[in-house]
């Protein structure tokens, strides 16, 4: 920008009268050298003697002259081209033959609208109204009536050039301000754009004011809830997002107002097709500018629909797994039960034999007893007849009867019967006892998975009971040697452990039997206790287990017996009972051709079974209550 102090103030005088130019020059620059001749005219025109122009003014003005309007315009244009515009032009009103003052001013303003103009006129050629009518209201136009007053001219020049510079300065300042504003606006716009960009890319969010009006939302919010910005604008929060917390103290807005802290909750919304969108909303307080009060709530949404679905799917999968697990456990218990039944079924033949023999001979004896009774009855009748003839009959009659009796005695083998009847009773009694004993043992043995079965267990007594049940299966193939030491009672499922011992005994017997040897084998049963365990060893002198399969013997369904003969579950169920149910150990050692030893170790402290005992007591209590 041109600086007032740096540049000469340029003034253009446009007047068709040459002397006038000299006068202006004299007044504004103090240069009178070649204007002295004009002094008279000047005096005539200016009236009073020219006042001495101030020293400063004289050095500052750069005065140019034009004698016609057209020439003035050219000079103005020239000055503009040189970028040394005039600040002020004094324009005469009448300048024949060319443009008059008004036309000149019009033309000049057209090219240089900033220039200050003073119209010099001696006549009232135009009224002020007319001038204004032609040129419009302008604060850049003054009228100087001829004759001029020097001081007036000087003051006009000073004031108007000053005004020009001030106007430029103001203009520049304005431009500067506008530029600043523009720049600021641009910055703001950029910031806003940036913010908008961030906002639209940010997680779905909205700001809700204390009147529940939605104030700010972003694109992702709209996308999340399937809304357009228009649809969402001006809505209340509860119109867009219903939660079960609306109109309750749990309303996030109310919560953050009461406690300006972060707060999370779930929001769901159904679209037209009934699809549900579930979001995790995080509400944070929205403060006033000075952070003095909470004026709303900013809610951030995280779409957890998929996560929820996944969670649901996982939960479902989980429950399926649990179900499968339950079924598996049921199957396992079924398997155990089946194995129990199988092992009992396996025994059934043997036990049946064991029972059928005494039942058979008792039944037979009972039938025989009836025939004995018939004979006794007959004999008794004969004796009665004899008694009658003893008193009244003839001797021959008595002898005949005696003969008949003796004959019957002989035929009916009464002597044999008399000698045998005691045996008949004792045999039958023994047979019935045998049956009772077997039934008792079977009953003890078959009590397997019932909770009331948990209790004090005498290992030696359990083994003996099991041996009774297994006797028939074992006795043809092996002799049993017992080597039982006193062992403390332990808490356990006696039925389950008996099943284990039965399994091991029968396996040992079958192993011996499989050898088809001449002599019976031997199964040695030994019990003892250590500091922590009671131990039972069952050793057979059978063929032994090949090393290749010894690691598999506890696997479910592993069997060396022909199809249909073994379930393959005996040892795996035994393993489960000893190891899992009783926290004991079941191990096997074998040497080919020498035999096999199975060792059952049961902990003396059976804390694991206490729970079941408790459960049983509860069950009993309930039973009592009912």
């Amino acid at each position: 920008m041109q600086n007032e102090s740096d540049v000469a103030k340029r003034i253009l005088v446009i007047d068709d009268t040459e002397s006038i130019h000299a006068d202006f020059r004299a007044v504004l620059t103090g240069s009178q050298a070649d204007t002295t001749t004009l002094d008279a005219a000047e005096a005539a025109i200016f009236g009073d003697a020219p006042a001495e122009p101030s020293a400063s003014a004289k050095t500052l003005y750069d005065l140019d002259s034009a004698f016609q309007g057209e020439e003035g315009l050219e000079k103005v244009q020239q000055a503009l081209r040189e970028e040394r515009p005039y600040q002020l032009a004094f324009v005469d009103m009448r300048m024949p033959p060319g443009w008059d003052g008004l036309r000149t001013i019009e033309e000049i303003w057209r090219v240089d609208p900033n220039i200050q103009i003073v119209i010099c006129t001696a006549y009232s050629d135009y009224s002020w109204d007319k001038i204004v009518g032609r040129l419009g209201h302008s604060d850049q136009l003054l009228i100087l009536k001829k004759p001029f007053d020097n001081v007036e001219v000087e003051q006009l020049a000073g004031a108007l050039t000053k005004k020009w510079f001030l106007a430029r300065k103001a203009e520049a300042r304005m431009t500067e301000l506008e530029e600043a504003v523009r720049r600021r606006t641009e910055e703001i716009e950029a910031a806003q754009q940036e913010l908008q960009q961030i906002l639209s890319a940010a997680t779905p969010l909205c700001v809700i004011d204390t009147d529940y009006d939605i104030r700010v939302i972003n694109d992702t919010f709209c996308a999340l809830f399937g809304l357009s910005i228009d649809e969402a604008t001006g809505k209340k929060c509860h119109e867009l997002m219903r939660t079960c917390k609306c109109h309750t103290p749990e309303c996030p807005l109310q919560r953050v107002q009461n406690d300006p802290d972060l707060y999370q909750y779930e929001v769901s919304r159904e679209n037209e097709t009934g699809e549900e969108t579930v979001c995790l909303a995080t509400a944070t307080p929205y403060f006033s500018m000075d952070y003095s009060e909470v004026v709303g709530v900013l809610v951030n949404f995280l779409n957890i629909t998929e996560r929820k679905k996944d969670e649901k799917a996982i939960a479902e999968a989980n429950s399926k797994l649990e179900q499968a697990n339950r079924e598996l456990r049921e199957m396992q218990s079924q398997m155990v039960q089946n194995e129990k039944l199988a092992s009992i079924g396996q025994l059934a033949a043997g036990v049946a034999h064991e029972m059928n023999t005494p039942v058979g001979f008792v039944a037979s004896n009972f039938q025989t007893l009836r025939s004995y009774m018939d004979k006794f009855t007959k004999l008794f009748a004969l004796y009665e007849e004899l008694a009658e003839v003893v008193d009244s009959g003839a001797k021959e009659e008595r002898l005949a009867k005696m003969h008949e009796i003796r004959d019957f005695h002989e035929r009916a083998k009464i002597d044999f019967i008399m000698g045998d009847i005691g045996d008949l009773f004792s045999d039958s009694k023994e047979g019935l006892e045998r049956v009772t004993g077997i039934i008792q043992n079977l009953r003890d043995f078959s009590r397997i998975d019932q909770p009331q079965d948990v209790g004090e267990y005498d290992l030696n007594a359990g083994l003996k009971a099991t041996l009774v049940v297994a006797r028939n299966e074992v006795k043809y193939d092996a002799d049993i040697q017992l080597d039982l030491s006193d062992v403390p009672l332990i808490t356990c499922h006696s039925g389950q452990l008996n099943q284990v011992f039965l399994n091991l005994l029968i396996n040992a017997a079958h192993a011996i039997k499989s050898q088809e040897r001449e002599n019976k084998g031997t199964i040695r049963v030994r019990t003892y206790d250590t500091d922590t365990h009671v131990v039972c060893e069952l050793t057979d002198d059978g063929p032994g287990i090949p090393p290749a399969i010894i690691s598999k013997v506890f696997d479910p369904f592993f069997t060396t017996k022909p199809p249909g003969k073994g379930t393959g579950l005996g040892l795996s169920v035994s393993y489960d009972i000893v190891v899992n149910k009783h926290k004991g150990q079941l191990s096997v050692e074998s040497e080919m051709g020498q035999g096999t030893t199975f060792t059952v170790r049961l902990p003396k402290e059976q804390s694991i079974l206490e729970d079941e005992k408790g459960a049983r007591n509860e069950a009993e209590d309930r039973a009592v209550c009912r």
Binding site: A349, A363, S371, F416, I417, K520, G564
Partner: protein
């Protein structure tokens, strides 16, 4: 006519006792053997017409005994008296095979008592009298 002889084989003395007393009135001689080996002894020493044997015995199984009798005393009528109500597989098949070849005369169950067995043995004796030529 000479009385026929029936040999009962069982490993249980009391079973044998009940058979002995059940058959005292039958019109034939009864022999009792406790176990298969004793039975073989008695067979060597006595002329036996009908053999009634248990199947499961510790010293030798009834089936093995029947095999011996079949090869050495083919004229003896064989009857099985078993404690099994449900026979083990090989025994069933062996018995079925035997019955089909008319080698085992009948199968009786111990639980049924002696009356049924008496009837079976009587029939066996009758069939024995028919097949054997009458003594001159």
């Amino acid at each position: 006519m000479k009385q026929k002889t029936v040999l009962f084989v069982d490993d249980d003395e009391r079973m044998l006792g009940s058979l002995r007393r059940a058959f005292i009135d039958e019109p034939y001689t009864t022999l009792l053997a406790c176990g298969a080996r004793e039975a073989i002894d008695l067979l060597r020493k006595n002329e036996v017409h009908v053999l009634v044997t248990d199947l499961r015995m510790p010293d030798m199984s009834g089936l093995d005994l029947l095999e011996i009798v079949k090869s050495e005393y083919s004229e003896i009528i064989m009857i099985v008296l078993s404690g099994q109500s449900q026979l083990a597989q090989p025994e069933v098949s062996a018995i079925t095979r035997g019955v089909h070849q008319d080698e085992i005369f009948a199968f009786a169950a111990k639980v049924d008592g002696a009356e049924e067995l008496q009837g079976i043995v009587r029939k066996a004796i009758e069939s024995c009298e028919q097949t054997l030529p009458a003594p001159s």
